[in-house]
């Protein structure tokens, strides 16, 4: 297997980096990492001095993914998407990317989205796909809970190279779509 390149940031910093990416800015500013060893290990955590107050703040590069894939509850026939519950960083992840794909639990006639809802117009999305249970093993708020049993069962599979390859070959590469994957992997709906 190819070793992964790891670059460690804090949660607040990653949020800011996606926000900067979505804003078309080159970097994110954060009152963060004070005294922490993380900047010593990550050359992409630097600092900037506020031109007005002289305060030293953390500066990190914006994130602009080539592709973002998120899961949401609903889309309408035009491909407008509504996200409810914990909205996290979904909008920033989509708007910072060059292209974004959204899988949804269902396609409805009318989203009935409140004016200040977390709503993604179809014209910022490359594709919207109806994939019920697409968040599995995580949950989709209002549709189904997290499959903790699967998460526990996955741990030993992911720790063993051969088990992992066999599982992927049989249940993911060997199935036509998400529904068939779930059936093959014995995931209860």
């Amino acid at each position: 297997p190819h070793p992964l390149a790891i670059e460690e940031h804090s949660h607040a910093d990653m949020a800011g980096r996606y926000q900067a990416g979505a804003s078309g800015l080159p970097f994110s500013v954060l009152r963060g990492y004070v005294g922490s060893d993380l900047p010593k290990r990550n050359p992409n955590i630097r600092s900037i001095t506020c031109p007005f107050t002289g305060e030293k703040l953390a500066a990190t590069p914006a994130i602009n993914p080539d592709v973002t894939v998120i899961h949401a509850q609903k889309a309408d026939r035009k491909g407008n998407v509504l996200i409810t519950g914990i909205i996290g960083i979904q909008k920033e992840a989509v708007l910072s990317a060059k292209a974004a794909i959204v899988t949804v639990e269902e396609i409805v006639e009318d989203l009935q989205a409140p004016k200040n809802a977390c709503y993604l117009p179809h014209w910022v999305l490359a594709a919207v796909c109806e994939v019920p249970y697409g968040a599995h093993p995580s949950y989709a708020h209002g549709y189904y809970g997290r499959d903790n049993a699967f998460c526990k069962a996955w741990d030993p599979i992911s720790r063993d190279r051969d088990a992992f390859l066999a599982w992927m070959k049989r249940h993911v590469l060997g199935t036509r779509d998400h529904a068939q994957f779930m059936e093959s992997a014995g995931i209860l709906r």
């Binding site: 949660h11 607040a12 009152r31 005294g35 922490s36 914990i86 960083i89 499959d147």
Partner: protein, 259 residues
């Protein structure tokens, strides 16, 4: 009623939270203590989780900040950029409530790696999460952590989040905001920073625990206050509420959590 060491740790931590206190809650022991407070003496405590849930009132303890249970009865749910920028960095959080794998005598904490080599650690911990920014923006920080020679270390393997830095006024000079750690609650007692040196000092011990035991469970020469008080033993209500909460949580997470 008899009780476990980690029960009185959670209960003693919960007792400190008051109605109206805005608490930024870390997952794990901080979350158990914060929700115990909400379910007993402080129903109006305001719990914030870094997933953006403000005024969260989970009926079961979340496994992660992203658990839907946190949003279900929250006052409101905002985006993650907003929770960190407006609510935390904006200075609206009274208490940042953190756990840690290692702590040093100035309340700095490590949640990143165990072992000296960052690239090849003995143990890879969950990582920073929100802690570095909670530690440097909340008005004060409480840390809840089991007290052993492996967690109370003379020197951290990795400094993830700042406490009182090198002691004295070094935190204030560093640009970190807030008072930093003002209480460290453990399974043996409670420590608080010396007002001048900022070195963690044992100020209370749980019933049945001795000062010698606390010193023996600390990886440096533990400073002890002139008078060390005893914390109150858990009441029946505190214990039953905590145990009910934990058994509800175990049942919900043990099986497939269906919505």
């Amino acid at each position: 009623m008899n009780y476990e060491a980690n029960e009185i740790m959670t209960i003693e931590a919960a007792r400190r939270l008051k109605n109206g206190t805005v608490c930024f809650v870390g997952i794990g022991m901080p979350s158990a203590a914060a929700n115990l407070a909400r379910l007993t003496h402080a129903p109006e405590v305001v719990l914030i989780y870094e997933s953006g849930t403000i005024g969260a009132k989970p009926d079961i303890l979340p496994l992660s900040i992203g658990d839907g249970e946190l949003a279900e009865h929250a006052d409101t749910v905002v985006s993650i950029p907003e929770i960190f920028r407006y609510w935390l960095q904006g200075g609206r959080v009274d208490v940042g409530f953190l756990g840690a794998a290692q702590i040093d005598k100035f309340g700095n904490i490590n949640t990143t790696v165990i072992g000296g080599d960052y690239a090849k650690p003995k143990v890879r911990l969950p990582g920073a999460g929100g802690a570095p920014e909670i530690a440097s923006n909340a008005k004060e920080v409480w840390i809840i952590i089991k007290q052993t020679r492996r967690s109370f270390v003379p020197k951290l393997d990795f400094m993830t989040s700042v406490g009182h830095l090198d002691g004295g006024e070094s935190r204030a000079r560093s640009g970190a905001r807030g008072a930093g750690p003002t209480a460290v609650i453990t399974d043996l007692g409670v420590l608080a920073p010396d007002p001048v040196t900022r070195e963690l000092t044992l100020v209370a011990i749980h019933p049945g625990i001795t000062v010698e035991q606390a010193k023996a469970s600390t990886g440096w020469d533990l400073k002890v206050a002139g008078t060390v008080v005893n914390t109150m033993p858990p009441t029946q209500d505190e214990l039953e509420t905590l145990r009910d909460l934990q058994s509800r949580t175990a049942r919900a997470h043990g099986t497939v959590a269906s919505e």
